[in-house]
């Protein structure tokens, strides 16, 4: 038996270079002698890192901005709403590509995949913020909030101890779907060649295999399938969570 990764990402199989899927190399071998199965598995770790970290950051930002914008009135709310709207309407992908190229060349050379995560997170929090804002808007008029206020709870206590816990179930569902979204965006960024060239991700594998898709189809097919199943998986999980957390369906 072999431990993870099944074969080192760096070990080369020069004798098997360019061979289609076989018993020894279930996903085939690249021209350079790299085992596609090993590479795909190794990329899973990096893609999940992108999806989970970006989701964590965007959820924190989105909940904070949305809750404050929904709870307070006047200038605070207007400014936060304005910023959220700007981030919602700008063509995010183009800016991500621009930022990725500019920053990776000029400033944070060593940051690699983390830089991509930060850029994705910076541009990706507005959806959650909108939903949290709307829910906060609705919940702050509810009687239990009034009741907590009538017992001396201040604004921040009301907001973060009484209102936000009530919004967590839709937020968890959307965050789960966002994981898939961020992975997909990272795939696009890497596929277009704007990702970190030193870290293997599914997008990078697709990018590398794309020119040879006619002759060595296995190099791009298997990372592509990995993307499909991963995104499908998180979407189904989000669906399941939305049913499980829906109070109307709970017995």
């Amino acid at each position: 038996m072999v431990a993870y990764p099944p074969r080192s990402y760096l070990s080369l199989y020069e004798g098997d270079a360019g061979t289609p899927p076989s018993f020894n190399h279930p996903f085939g071998v690249e021209d350079s002698g790299i085992d596609v199965f090993s590479e795909t598995v190794d990329s899973t770790r990096n893609d999940l890192y992108v999806g989970l970290t970006a989701t964590l950051i965007t959820t924190l930002i989105g909940v904070a901005v949305g809750a404050l914008a929904g709870y307070f009135k006047g200038i605070v709310s207007d400014v936060l709403l304005g910023i959220t709207q700007v981030f919602f309407v700008i063509p995010v992908l183009l800016l991500i590509l621009l930022f990725a190229r500019v920053f990776s060349v000029l400033v944070f050379k060593g940051l690699g995949l983390t830089l991509i995560v930060l850029i994705l997170a910076f541009f990706g929090w507005s959806g959650i913020a909108f939903i949290v804002r709307g829910e906060t808007f609705k919940l702050k008029e509810m009687e239990f909030v009034q009741a907590a206020r009538s017992l001396g709870a201040g604004s921040y206590r009301l907001l973060f101890r009484h209102i936000v816990p009530n919004i967590l179930s839709p937020v968890i569902v959307i965050a789960t779907l966002n994981i898939a979204g961020f992975i997909l965006t990272e795939v696009v960024v890497s596929f277009l060649g704007f990702g970190d060239p030193n870290t293997s991700t599914w997008g990078l594998l697709l990018n590398e295999g794309f020119p040879y898709v006619r002759t060595a189809w296995w190099v791009s097919l298997f990372p592509g399938l990995a993307v499909v199943f991963c995104v499908l998986g998180f979407n189904l999980m989000g669906d399941g969570l939305s049913d499980a957390l829906n109070p109307r369906l709970r017995e």
Binding site: K73, E141, M142, E143, F144, Q146, A147, A148, R149, S150, L151, G152, A153, G154, R157, R161, H162, P165, N166, L168, P247
Partner: protein, 347 residues
């Protein structure tokens, strides 16, 4: 027996000052308006109320008469777009309307609290009973988590909840309506407030549970020597629970009297109509309804606000707003015709 002839004037005054009940809450000429897009809704328009320490006072009127807004105004938690525009609310002799938000926040809970109508919506659905009780205790009493939990447990026992340890870990949806209201009462009483507003606390409960909850409130009020303002539209509850009553209509005071006086000799046609709308087991008379609805509070009727629905209304009622006049000591009425009318009371 005190021999008054041996007392000096000074002693006499002191004696009386001691006997005079202490005023805990004094609302005068309170105006709370809601600034909606359709216009200004005058929810409270010159409302007055006096509550003595340890007293149970009733606030009665139809839906929309301004009962709940009164409680919200005293706690200064009137929801937007509502605002207190004029008047004075004195609590323990201090003006509440000039207090800062932070000073007010510290009064809510330890000094005054409110029990809401519907326990299904007034308890937070995603927090356990324990969290909801300890949150308030830790905020005002500076208790550790363990001490607060202990206190929460004793509160649940106090309000008559079976298996309190188990209920402490429960979420509101796992409890019955009566139990939820008991918990809401426990939460309101957690910091031993001097003044408790009970805003129709039994309206959403089964009849059998209603009696139990009222009994609990009565018992707690006596035990803690608490002042209570009972807000309700149910004259039966008023008769059962209160010593004094204020009848509200369209944000104005119609009549104020001791409960027994109000029931035996009402002076306002609206009070009479409310009393006649109460079903009774003994009497075989038909139940009377008050025709019409509570008026539009954006443009209230001219003169006496009740005149469109009043069967005794005369010309003057349409033209002039009646002042709150003194009938006898402790009995006030806002009606032009109270001297002429022979109104029917109950019992």
């Amino acid at each position: 027996m005190t021999d008054y002839q041996t007392l000096s004037t000074h002693d006499f005054v002191n004696e009386w000052a001691h006997r005079l009940p202490e005023k805990l809450l004094e609302i005068s000429n309170l105006r709370t308006y809601f600034f909606t897009e359709a216009g200004v809704v005058k929810a409270l328009d010159g409302m007055s109320l006096e509550v003595n320490k340890g007293q149970a006072v009733g606030l009665v009127g139809e839906s929309g008469s301004g009962k709940s807004v009164t409680a919200q105004s005293v706690l200064r938690i009137v929801p937007r777009p509502g605002r207190i525009v004029d008047g004075s609310i004195r609590f323990e002799g201090e003006e509440l309307l000039s207090k800062s938000d932070d000073e007010m926040r510290k009064l809510r809970g330890p000094k005054m609290a409110i029990v809401f109508q519907d326990p299904t919506t007034s308890l937070n659905p995603v927090l356990t009973v324990e969290r909801q009780l300890t949150d308030i205790l830790m905020l005002h009493r500076d208790l550790t988590k363990e001490a607060a939990s202990k206190k929460a447990l004793s509160l649940l026992e106090h309000v008559g909840i079976q298996e309190p340890e188990k209920r402490l870990k429960a979420y509101p949806h796992e409890l019955s309506g009566g139990m939820k209201q008991r918990i809401a009462i426990a939460r309101a009483l957690s910091c031993e407030p001097m003044l408790l507003f009970a805003d129709e606390p039994t309206t959403n409960l089964d009849v059998t549970i209603q009696a139990q909850v009222l009994e609990l409130l009565k018992q707690l009020q006596k035990e803690l020597n608490m002042t209570m303002v009972m807000i309700t539209h149910d004259m039966g509850i008023i008769a059962d629970m209160t010593e004094r009553v204020t009848v509200l209509y369209a944000g104005k005071v119609m009549e104020v009297a001791d409960t027994s006086t109000l029931f035996h000799s009402p002076k306002h046609p609206y009070t009479e109509a409310l009393l006649k709308a109460v079903p009774s087991v003994k009497q075989t008379r038909t139940l009377e309804v008050i025709p019409g609805n509570i008026p539009n509070l954006i443009e209230p009727p001219s003169g006496c606000v009740f005149h469109p629905r009043c069967k005794y209304a005369k010309d003057i009622c349409m033209r002039q707003e009646p002042p709150l006049e003194k009938v006898e000591e402790g009995h006030f009425v806002a009606c032009h015709l109270w001297r002429e009318l022979k109104l029917e009371g109950r019992g």
